[in-house]
Subunit: 193 residues, 2 copies
Amino acid sequence: MSDNYHHGDLQNALLHAVGEIIEEKGVGAVSLREAARRAGVSHSAPAHHFGDKIGMLTAFARKGFEEFGQRMQAAADSADEVDAKFRAIGVEYIRFAVERRPYFEVMFRSEMHDSADPDFKCVSKDSFGVLMSVVESMSAEELNGADPMHAAMSAWALVHGLATLWLDGTLSQFTDEDLFTLVQGVFEADIKV
Amino acid sequence: MSDNYHHGDLQNALLHAVGEIIEEKGVGAVSLREAARRAGVSHSAPAHHFGDKIGMLTAFARKGFEEFGQRMQAAADSADEVDAKFRAIGVEYIRFAVERRPYFEVMFRSEMHDSADPDFKCVSKDSFGVLMSVVESMSAEELNGADPMHAAMSAWALVHGLATLWLDGTLSQFTDEDLFTLVQGVFEADIKV
DNA sequence: TGTACATCAGTGAACGCGCGTTCACTGATGTAC
DNA sequence: TGTACATCAGTGAACGCGCGTTCACTGATGTAC
């Protein structure tokens, strides 16, 4: 690999830079030029690879969903009992949101990516599939007679809500608890609405 | 009120404009200049009133929380039974998110306002207080022995997750259901994690 | 009833900035012969 | 083994844009006397 002209893996270097920018300055600070700067490359290089800004962010979101899907699957595989799988997925969801905040924010904010991108659609559906297949393996008794899709949405909404409220700093206004102590408490308190 | 120089209620006119901008072009399109344009006023007028951009958005969020708090309170008062209050609050939360999307987005995104603003803090805490007081009026039996704070967080996370997933367009990828049919189903399916 | 004056809302010109996009280009690489 | 050529990655100058902020200003309003 030459030192100069041909970077070798610029695509990944740029996506890495995007992550850094979000980590340091938030999603609003992402720009093609700043990503180029951090990758040590001319400011028009990113457009060459990704077409435009939204293309770069969509590629970033796709990469996020790939890791996310793998982690969800690993969580589901980490337990034998259905309800243990269920909990493991929930905890891993929140863990991902906190550890990989830049991905999470771009993945789940519609204005930050192109949801119509076929690859994006595919990889995001796959992630949801992990949750669905766990729910579908539940017995009618375990589901309390609930529709599996609704049960999946319910679980998803709960962890997604916790994650976003935490990331937005709203929760810390109301409780001093460590996030995972809180998660534990919330999972146990998940009373019937 | 003169036609020209002194507007009379520019502050509100600007906040109204902010709502319009978000409705039409999303939170990223908000600017002092665009708000001024829509209020039919010079571009430096908003700074005169709000100090800077974040000041304008924080005022917008405050206004949102005021309406939000009132609606939460009205929902809580609309029923006699505790669990009916609980449900009413949940539905109203989601209804607010959908009907008043611009407010909702600015209220719950930390980078869109100044969370340290004393008035903001006050009015957002008040809203949460409505939920807390309903949960606190529940008997130990109704709570299934759960900590009231955790029960409140759990309910909050559920509806907040539903609302944000819906607004971000993520849910519509997976279900064709009307939002409130889905909400109904999810509330009923709210199984123990 | 009239005048002077303080206050405050809103103006408009100017500034510098970072951005996305375009485009003709150049340097490196690999392949065909 | 050497040469010609196509391909593709990355360059860098240029463009126009909308933005936030500043600042000396002006027009309207109300109050004191």
